[in-house]
């Protein structure tokens, strides 16, 4: 791992319409880190990912990716170097699962045989047998299967940075837990750098190397797991209180004796 960050965010501000959605965002992401962006609904998590991906122009500040300001990047190239798992999957309805997953390699003009091999590998990795799921269309998938396809698609061209927007939301707890474990295993094998958005504190604690807590468009705190568990900020306390509540309920409902 080299010392220089793969992604640097400096004094970022972002405006949508009249409203200032994000302000004063400063963050360095180093290779191999999984940074979890945690925050309540509407705090600006998706907006931050879109800024990084160049989908929304900045109102102030700077984002540097691989040492170069995004203002200098060709946006097409930039986006193909970031695998983006879009909230609610965002699959192309008129393409098969295989075509969806193979999109970026295809745009990058890989050999067809290599694309097919890659697509099969990725579908197996996210737990979808390629023979069965490759030829299907997105509307023939369940919500959870769509999200898996979204993850496979983001990984397709082996991008140095992954942007994951609530990739495991809207899943039943068992499937979610399975995918979370798969994500951790995947991270061991491919050592990806990731910006991972969630509003689920338990998920944050499970996958994060560092947690960035967002509150109303600003960074409330940046903490490792242990630091977060001991954090004093009101927002962190609010998230942790939810967690304790959950644990207490589980204890009560657990069978005794």
């Amino acid at each position: 791992m080299d010392g220089s960050p793969i992604l640097e965010i400096r004094d970022l501000a972002c405006r949508l319409g009249e409203r200032l959605i994000l302000r004063g965002i400063n963050l360095d992401v180093r290779e191999g880190e999984t940074i979890v962006l945690l925050g309540r609904s509407g705090c600006g998590k998706t907006t931050l990912l879109k800024c990084v991906n160049g989908l929304i122009p900045l109102a102030g500040g700077e984002i540097r990716f691989e040492g170069r300001s995004t203002a200098e990047w060709d946006l097409i190239r930039l986006r193909r170097r970031m695998g983006y798992v879009i909230q609610d999957a965002g699959l192309f309805p008129h393409w098969t699962v295989a075509a969806n997953v193979g999109l970026v390699p295809q745009l990058e003009e890989w050999e067809p045989a290599r694309i097919e091999e890659r697509v099969h590998f990725l579908l197996r990795t996210v737990g979808l047998p390629p023979g069965e799921f490759g030829p299907r269309y997105p509307r023939q998938l369940s919500g959870g299967q769509k999200q898996r396809v979204g993850i496979a698609r983001a990984l397709a061209a082996d991008p140095p940075l992954l942007l994951l927007d609530e990739p495991f939301a809207a899943l039943d707890p068992i499937t979610r837990f399975e995918l979370q474990k798969q994500f951790l295993a995947l991270r061991e094998t491919v050592r990806k750098t990731a910006l991972f958005v969630t509003h689920d504190v338990r998920e944050a604690l499970m996958v994060a190397t560092r947690i960035v807590l967002l509150k109303e468009g600003m960074i409330d705190l940046i903490a490792t797991r242990d630091e977060f568990l001991a954090a004093r900020s009101a927002e962190a306390q609010a998230f942790l209180a939810g967690l304790e509540e959950e644990w207490r309920k589980q204890d009560e409902s657990a069978p005794r004796g």
Partner: protein, 205 residues
């Protein structure tokens, strides 16, 4: 029905079909790229659609009348009829293509941008394929209408099934009118059903 009448029905039906096919083909070649251009230029939309709308409201006989004295596109014969039929076919194709492209889900478009597709790739691989059902619906509406309007083309010597209708009116002979009207109606029905079938097939894929 005499052999000669049957043969004439066949000839005029073919003529009619050609008029319609050429007119729709040319109209589509203008309207589809036009609609694509309009998706990129919102400011022009109102004007272009307004113009197409006004053209649509000109009664067909009057339009043939306007075209007759014009050089190149006017005069007696087939090409004048084709120009007029084209004008009528423009609006439905233009409007449907435009609505089809603009109707593509915003999330899907954003996802295409986020994946690093270029503007042209988005047009050819996402917007147009997803607009195909709407474009086909426009073609269907235009075709059915054109089959009807084309009967009037006989008035300026363009041939087609209108020949029977005008002859029947002149000789006050209903059976001759029917010899033109029935095949035209059947053609319209077949076109409607056929194109609808294709539309359904494609949107199921």
């Amino acid at each position: 029905m005499s052999r000669r009448l049957a043969a004439e029905i066949a000839t005029l039906t073919l003529e009619h079909l050609w008029l319609v096919l050429i007119a729709i083909g040319v109209a589509a070649l203008i309207a589809v790229p036009g609609a694509i251009a309009l998706t990129r230029r919102p400011a022009w939309r109102r004007w272009v659609l307004g113009l197409a709308n006004i053209l649509q409201t000109i009664p067909s006989l009057a339009l043939f009348g306007f075209l007759l004295p014009l050089p190149v596109i006017g005069g007696i014969g087939r090409h004048t009829a084709i120009v007029a039929l084209c004008v009528y076919a423009l609006l439905p194709i233009l409007r449907n293509t435009l609505l089809g492209i603009l109707g593509v889900d915003a999330g899907v478009l954003e996802s295409a941008v986020a994946m690093g597709m270029t503007r042209n790739q988005i047009l050819w691989r996402v917007e147009l394929p997803l607009a195909v059902p709407a474009i086909l619906a426009g073609l269907r509406i235009a075709t059915v209408a054109t089959i009807g309007t084309a009967t009037i083309a006989a008035a300026i010597g363009a041939g087609g099934l209108g020949v029977f209708i005008f002859r029947g009116i002149a000789t006050v002979d209903t059976s001759v009118v029917l010899a033109g009207a029935v095949p035209a109606a059947l053609m319209a029905l077949l076109a409607d059903e056929g194109l609808e079938w294709i539309e359904k097939r494609l949107s199921r894929a």
